[in-house]
Structures are given as structure tokens and as C-alpha cells.
Amino acid sequence: MEFKLTKEQELIQKTARDFADRSIEPAIDHIMKEHAIPQEILDGMKELDLFCLPISEAYGGAGAGYQSYVLALEQIASVSPGVAIVISVNCFGLAALEMFGSEEVKKRYMPGACTGKNIMSIAMTEPEGADPRLVKTTAVREGDEYVLNGTKRFITACGYEGPLVIFARESDTGQICGFVVEKFCEGYSISEPWDKMGLPGTPMYDVYLKDVRIPVGNMLGELNQGFRILKNSIALGKIGISSIFLGTILAAYEECMKYAGERIYLGKPLTQFQYVQGDIVDIAMKYEAARWLAYRLGYLADMNEDKGNIIKDSALTKMFVTNTAVEVARSAINIHGSYGLMENYKVSRIWRDSIFGPQTEGTNALLRSVVAMDILKRSK
């Protein structure tokens, strides 16, 4: 057991942070006001290979593994979780193609998404909810094609050109399967973006599929593999989300250290007040626990070819990190007093971002029941 980053991991972590500080931080106001990521930031992420960090080199990825992926996403999210989400969604989609796409699908879609020229999306949730049992989108086989119809909700990055992995019920088996659709193909349309309270820069839309025709080869895996694909995809999505909300914890921690050191109250800095010290120590303690759990999840993803094996760990990590992010954001506002409620203080933004964590990528309430079933099954 070794709790030490390799030199390469340290450098990748630093690359992500330096890029975030140098290029994303100055654009935060623009991202907040325009609800969009400036093209220069997307171009910078392309140049640094951040769009394909954990994907193998064989299909155009950087091949840095999931441990490095967690480290990089954490640092970018500490400056802008909205920007980090675009990377995580792209890597999430790429990983699904890498694991289950046919060779033809991989060659057609992966190189463009690895360079960031195209940005992938992944669509599971529907208006009724995120539970796979609620999927109503259909994929009806007609000769050499599937015809897709349905509505997907709260889908990120679907306004960018690129492939979309969509989960739908396959007509012959009634099972949930993954299908690759090119965004903006005939029959594809999106809603106006949802007017959400945080995570600026990554608008969420509803996606409408009306008689979208795709080749049969665009189905991921085999007909009877739907559940396995789903398990793998669910596990991978939680690595990204855990890393991103770890980044918001780091941001809150850094902001509190800075503010408490600079703010003079009754003639002395806040850091000299015992109740503030207590809050800061709690944040430090929670950050340490969350980060080693998230780093471990990256390690488990690197060690397990079948990502379905880490579904329980990914759910536990995601729940812990996202719940902790909310607690830490609340403490950070507490340390800032009334200033923490003001728009021009970063902690107010961190709060609005953090509250997304427990609701995203499977609500924590849903995940508790999933993990309970897994744990209880093992104990029998």
C-alpha cells in the first residue's frame, strides 16, 4: 500500500491546476454571465490532452489512467466545476465506446472526441427519473437500422457537435442497451437550456429523438450485454462526479484559508478565533478523507478492466464526496459570515455548485438503496 503520487501524476495534477489558474480563472465572469465556456479554454484543453486523459493511446487517448484523471479533474473543478464537467462527460462517453463499441464505431468516433474536436455526451435520465427501470426511449430494429424515439432529460454537452451515447430499450429483447447517435442528425433536437442555479458553463438540455435512424453496428456490445454496459457506465460516471465535487471541497478549503488569514475582526485575523480554527480543521479533515477515497476510486478503475466490479465503491465514494462537498460549502459560508452570501465571494458560487453533487449522476437517495442491495446480497 503506497499513498504517494508518481512524478508523472504530480506533473499532470500541476498541468491541470496551472491551466485552470492561467486560463480558466480569468474567464470565470464570462462563464457565469454567458453560461458558456470560451472557445480558447476548449482549445487549451485540447492542446493539453485533457479531453482524453484516461483513454488508451490505441484510439487516440492520452493513456494516463484513471488516477491521473481524478487528480486533473479535481484541480480544474477547484476553479470551475462547470468546465471540468465537459471533460468528464467526454471521457465518460469515450470510455463507454472503448469498452463496448465495435472496432468500426471506435475508429469512427473516438479520435475526434479524444482531440476535443467533437465532444461526447451520455444520456440516461428521462423525465420520469434516472432509474434504468424507468427508461421509455425505444430502439426498434428495422432491417440494418435501429429507429430511436424518446426524450432524455438534464443532458450535458449535447449542444456541442459529437457522438451521444444514449440508453434505450431494445425492441427485440426489451433490455436497456447503449446506442451511439451523432448529435444534430436528422430527428435529433434539444430544448432550451435549463435555467439551473449552479455549475455555470455546462448547460443542461432535454434531448428529443424522433425517428432517429442509426446503423445496427452503432449499438454498444451484444444484445444480452445491456446490464453489463449499464453497470460499467454508471461506475465510470461516478469517478468523474466524485473528482469534480472533490474539487469544490478543495476550492472551499483554499478560500477559507485565504479569507480567515486576511480578514481582521476585533483587531486580529479570524484564524486566531478558536471557533474558526475548529471549522477549518473540520474542512481539512473532510477534504483528506474525501480525496483519498476519490484517489482510491481512480486506482480501482485502473486495476479493474471490468468497471462493473467497482460499482459499489463508485457509489460509496460519490455519496461521501458529494455529501461532504455540501457540508464543507456550508462551513465555508459560515467562516465568511454575511460576506459568504454575496455574489462576489467565491464561496457563494461554491455553495450553488456543491448542492448539485448529491442530486447528480444518480441521486444519493437512489444510490443508498443500490448499495444496500449489494451489501446485503454479499452478507447472505
Partner: protein, 251 residues
């Protein structure tokens, strides 16, 4: 013509804690200083005009091989390293002798770049000592370098002016940080760095004599204590008046 960049392994300054006005270096990772990275960036740009390679030279303890990956990720083509645990706290005269010997191992050297001073001690002594050892001309405070055949045209950043001089090559040139903003290495270049060629020498391989004792003993390198005067002003006019009375606004 090859471009050599000498870099120094230093403790990560952002992770150093201070106790009793002294740095605590336990568990602090080693990194390259920012000014060395500026020198490297200048070298990478120069490389395009001279059709050579950028060779990173460094001397240090067992961690140097790992630390130099950062330079290889940021544009260095290969590394020549001298690795010996005694070099971790060697004084500048020893380091200069070792670096000069390592540079002699490299073919077709045109320009040897240094940061103006290392990011930890900033003594600036090694540059001159290396130039003297090699018998090459030395130019300091470079903020722009152009190679023109057998000459380098160097713009020096002086206190009140810039000076442009020409120097025959090979030459030792130390740069100021404004010469270039260091690049952020991409993920792929970080991963490829470990595969770039590295020549690693031990002190015994260099055929130089290292004095057993230290020539230089650092007694103290603390920042001077500055005390605030605690003058409270109520307006900018009043501030200007006080600064003028203390002759602080004349420069």
C-alpha cells in the same frame, strides 16, 4: 548546434513551512524553479532556429532523475545528469565544476542557458564559475536571444535600459524570468518524458577532483527583518506628501 539548459532541483517553495524563521524541508517534494523553466522555454524557441537539440543538464541526489522529467516534458529532448547523494548540499563551486564537466560530455554545444539565479538561494555564483571553467564568454540578464551564425545577439535587461550585445558561440547566457513564460506541458508530453534519452554519470565518471571540505559555508540566508512604521494616512495627498518627505518618490 545543441542548446544546453542547466536546471537545478529545488524544494517546492509553495510547500515549505517556516519554523523559528527557518525553512522546514521534511517531506517537501523536489521541483524545478520557475526561472529555470523560463530558460528552458527560451531554449526550445532557439532550437527551431539552430536545428539542434535541447539538452537538459543537472546535478543532484537520487531524486534528480525524477525531477528532470518536468524539463523533458516541457520541451527538453534529452538529459545529461550527474547523480550523487553528496551533491544535495554541495556548495556552488562544486556544482559549477560538476556541471562544466557534464557539459564537456555533450557534442556541438552552442548556447548554454541558465536562470539568472536559482529559485531557492539565488546566489547566481554557478553561472560565472561554469563559464570560467569552460573558458566560454558569459552574458547575464538576457531577456531576448537570437542566434546568427557563429554569434548570439543578446538583449540584456538592465535596471534603467536594455543593452544589446553580440557574443561569439559557444557562450554561457543567464536569463531573466521575463524572457519567456514557461509552457504548461501536455499530458502526453509528461508521459513521454520518461522515455526520452538520459545519460547519467556518477562523480567518479567525470574525472574531476572534488575538494573534501566545503569552500563556502552558509551562515544564514534569512530575509531582512522589515518593520512597519505604522503611519496612518487619511488621504492620497497625505500619503504622497509623506513619501516625498522621505524621498521615496524620486526614482
Amino acid at each position: 548546434m545543441n542548446i544546453v539548459v542547466a536546471v537545478k532541483q529545488i524544494p517546492d517553495l509553495q510547500q515549505i513551512r517556516i519554523r523559528d524563521r527557518r525553512p522546514v524541508l521534511d517531506y517537501v517534494p523536489c521541483v524545478l524553479g520557475d526561472i529555470d523553466k523560463s530558460a528552458l522555454e527560451a531554449a526550445v524557441e532557439l532550437k527551431e532556429s539552430v536545428q539542434g537539440r535541447v539538452i537538459v543538464v543537472s546535478a543532484g541526489n537520487g531524486e534528480i532523475e525524477d525531477t528532470v522529467k518536468e524539463a523533458l516534458a516541457a520541451g527538453g529532448d534529452e538529459a545529461v545528469l550527474v547523480e550523487d547523494d553528496t551533491l544535495a548540499d554541495a556548495d556552488s563551486s562544486v556544482v559549477a565544476k560538476v556541471l562544466a564537466a557534464a557539459i564537456r560530455k555533450i557534442d556541438d554545444v552552442g548556447v548554454i542557458l541558465f536562470g539568472e539565479g536559482s529559485a531557492d538561494n539565488y546566489s547566481g555564483r554557478v553561472v560565472s564559475a561554469v563559464a570560467a571553467d569552460l573558458g566560454y564568454p558569459q552574458v547575464g540578464y538576457a531577456k531576448q536571444i537570437e542566434v546568427d551564425g557563429p554569434l548570439a545577439r543578446v538583449t540584456r535587461s538592465l535596471e534603467d535600459s536594455d543593452e544589446i550585445i553580440e557574443v561569439p558561440l559557444p557562450a554561457v547566457i543567464s536569463v531573466v524570468s521575463e524572457i519567456k513564460e514557461p509552457r504548461i506541458p501536455s499530458v502526453t508530453s509528461i508521459l513521454k518524458a520518461r522515455k526520452k534519452p538520459k545519460a547519467i554519470y556518477r562523480l567518479d565518471d567525470l574525472g574531476i577532483e572534488i575538494p573534501s571540505g566545503k569552500n563556502i559555508t552558509t551562515i544564514s540566508n534569512l530575509a531582512p527583518v522589515s518593520e512597519r512604521k505604522g503611519i496612518v494616512v487619511k488621504s492620497v495627498d497625505e500619503l504622497v506628501k509623506i513619501l516625498k518627505s522621505e524621498r521615496r518618490l524620486e526614482r
